[in-house]
Symmetry: C2
Subunit: 136 residues, 2 copies
């Protein structure tokens, strides 16, 4: 294929609720691989997969959660947003119930109340993404 293209990724802002529908916080992962730091869970879209299916698969792989997609937050495509190569992130807002469990690229999974999110520990442009989510 002669066309070069950026990589397509999906990221999910997971609103976590308990069984009584009480909001617990936003799910973030402590990354196992570089760049190290906190991140919104996400990953690459496979050829042959919709972005919605990729999101559900990645959220399950990284946090153990089954998510319901609530909507699109935005598309983040600054060529410098990922230090490895040019990645276009399609970012969704979603909802999940239960207890997250780290696996795949996540060393640890953490749940933060909005006011406790440590913005200075977020990698990529995820602090911008989370601020866009909060201010939307």
């Amino acid at each position: 294929m002669p066309i070069k293209t950026p990589f397509v990724a999906v990221d999910g802002i997971i609103q976590l609720f308990d069984e009584n529908d009480n909001f617990q916080g936003i799910v973030l992962i402590e990354r196992k691989n570089p760049p190290l730091g906190l991140a919104v869970p996400g990953g690459f879209v496979d050829v042959g997969e919709t972005v919605e299916d990729a999101l559900k698969r990645e959220m399950k792989e990284e946090t153990g959660l089954d998510v319901e997609i609530l909507g699109l937050l935005g598309v983040y495509s600054d060529p410098d947003r990922d230090p490895r190569f040019h990645t276009v992130s399609i970012t969704f807002v979603c909802r999940a119930y239960g207890i997250p469990v780290a696996s795949s690229d996540a060393k640890e999974v953490k749940v933060f109340k909005i006011e406790d999110i440590p913005f200075d520990r977020l990698v990529f442009d995820h602090s911008k993404i989370l601020k866009d989510y909060i201010n939307r």
Copy 2:
């Protein structure tokens, strides 16, 4: 790079206005290359380019118009939406003034009132995209 990824494209629903701000219609192109038919103008995102810059470049190349982006309509990623290969379309709604002129992949540029759009002549999933635009 070991990761395989779908191709990233942008498409633009261009709302065309005259100099007195009267809505003229939606700009569609008659494609020069297969698949032949009518399409929302669009094209592939280059590595190193934001999706917004890609959209403005492609709209200019295909229609001669300078567009102002109004917002994101959606992300279309069905693996079968493009008969050539898996393409993820990031679709924007935008506004332009002036007279469109065909070039690049467009054999001809046409302006349609919403009620006159020939949905059965649209290629890819562009009839779904335009219906989503109308019903949004």
